[in-house]
Symmetry: C2
Subunit: 165 residues, 2 copies
């Protein structure tokens, strides 16, 4: 037990040591692999539509808080801070299901989002543009979403944009 909330105490989450390939791939122990920067990649989808909303990264603390609270937490690589998604915008991601992949170096979150949008640019999904392929390769990107769900200026005000070139 680590912290008390109105929903009751948060359960302590421990990660298992990685001992064998069989344990990691076929077992029931949660032994996530963090990279040299202490991060694990996380893909987040809309639990209802299945649409991929974003691809983010978590450190140990963000992953633990996500499991404990049922709300998605990430590590912001641009700001270098723990990032409770929706803390600024209100677009909190409520966890329906958490999955881990075969070698346990990636997380998949299936979430419900208040407000129906996830992307800081204002679109529903961060993946709002299509890259043409094969016979159409080398053509310009095509917008898959024609209209923003919200106006980023109204939601974020003059907060700095964290996209890095």
């Amino acid at each position: 037990m680590s912290q008390a909330t109105s929903q009751g105490p948060l359960l302590d989450v421990q990660f298992a040591p990685r001992l064998s390939i069989d344990q990691v791939e076929e077992g029931q122990q949660f032994a996530p692999k963090f990279d040299a920067h202490g991060l694990i990649a996380c893909v987040t989808t809309d639990a209802t539509s299945g649409e991929v909303l974003m691809l983010g990264y978590m450190n140990r603390d963000a992953l633990k808080k996500t499991i404990q609270t049922g709300e998605a937490h990430y590590w912001s690589r641009s700001r270098q801070v723990l990032w409770h998604k929706g803390a600024t915008s209100g677009l909190v991601q409520k966890i329906r299901e958490i999955r881990v992949d075969d070698d346990q170096d990636a997380i998949w979150l299936r979430v419900d989002i208040d407000g129906g949008a996830s992307c800081h640019v204002g679109y529903r999904s961060c993946f709002y543009r299509i890259v043409p392929h094969e016979a159409c390769a080398a053509q310009p990107l095509v917008f898959a979403e024609s209209k923003k769900v919200f106006d980023p200026v109204k939601v974020y005000g003059d907060a700095p944009n964290h996209t890095q070139l």
Copy 2:
């Protein structure tokens, strides 16, 4: 034009330089961002079911080949080689759609897979285990797939397993 195939010549794919946040986020130029290792993260979903199949990485060459050929290519970080997914197993991923995210540092592939399976362990998706959360946090992983689609020993023989501890 770079290479001729039975389907005709492959179109040359160039990536645009990253000049401004507005260009990267709101524009129609494809200006993917590769990390310090020359890689970009890629989430791959089943185009029909929407299920997340895997999370992989591409270098510039893998991304270009994916766009040109309509079949998913990745960079294998464990083997350090260009990886035409399905070359060994036959489980080729045929591209239905390619998307890029807001800051263009992640790719989403929507694919059709021959044989209905993607994971080298034999399951349909690499994300075959659920991590319990909130009141069930700290419980063992739960298998979301009860049966393997194929027997990895029959498909891969005695090829080394590339999972790293």
